[in-house]
Symmetry: C2
Subunit: 135 residues, 2 copies
Amino acid sequence: MCANSQVKSSDAIASLKYNDDGLIPAIAQQHDTGEVLMMAWMNQASIEETLKTGRVCYWSRSRQAYWRKGESSGQVQMLKELRIDCDADTLLIKVDQTGPACHTGRRNCFYQVIEGDNVVIDAEPLIDPAELYGK
Amino acid sequence: MCANSQVKSSDAIASLKYNDDGLIPAIAQQHDTGEVLMMAWMNQASIEETLKTGRVCYWSRSRQAYWRKGESSGQVQMLKELRIDCDADTLLIKVDQTGPACHTGRRNCFYQVIEGDNVVIDAEPLIDPAELYGK
């Protein structure tokens, strides 16, 4: 059940299928509970930084800048494991998330659920976003 | 913990942030174990079909066609829940996956893990792909 593919990590990271903007989607999953926390984008340099430092760094498409998770809010994401999918176009990162992963103050970003004809919000903020970002 | 947002499901689906190709990423998670199985793309019509039929339908970017999961392999994905993230640009679908979700015959697509300098493959196919697609 455990084969070494003889592929170097650096080669695998370099040959990921980045999109036209040089980005690849990364799904962040809480390592011990399996909760899917969020999805964000990384470029090659942010992946390399994440692997080097052990703290998750994304690329913010809205800000066009590195996004070291928690740099404003203090709610950091530490890397436990980085996985690559079969097509090398998606990452699954197992993380240890401090507090809320979502900018709304919720633990995860997927709090809107389709229930028949209506959308239901089934999670409340752990922390008021004003408190998270008002520092 | 359970607020009705007064948003209609049809309006929420119509106003998702689709990319320039009209697509949105959908993370498929096995509903009972929390295993992240795969990530693929949907357009508005494939989301509507998935909600209507209860069987997951993606949009295949490589084939430029609807991709009713399991149509070739028999390994269908039934929808349990559809969630929308805070930015309305990613879906999390909780599913019940028959057999392998991955075209390699593995249960999930994320079988390549970075371990230091090397990439390790830590899952074996449940079914030989030749058997899955050779029918």
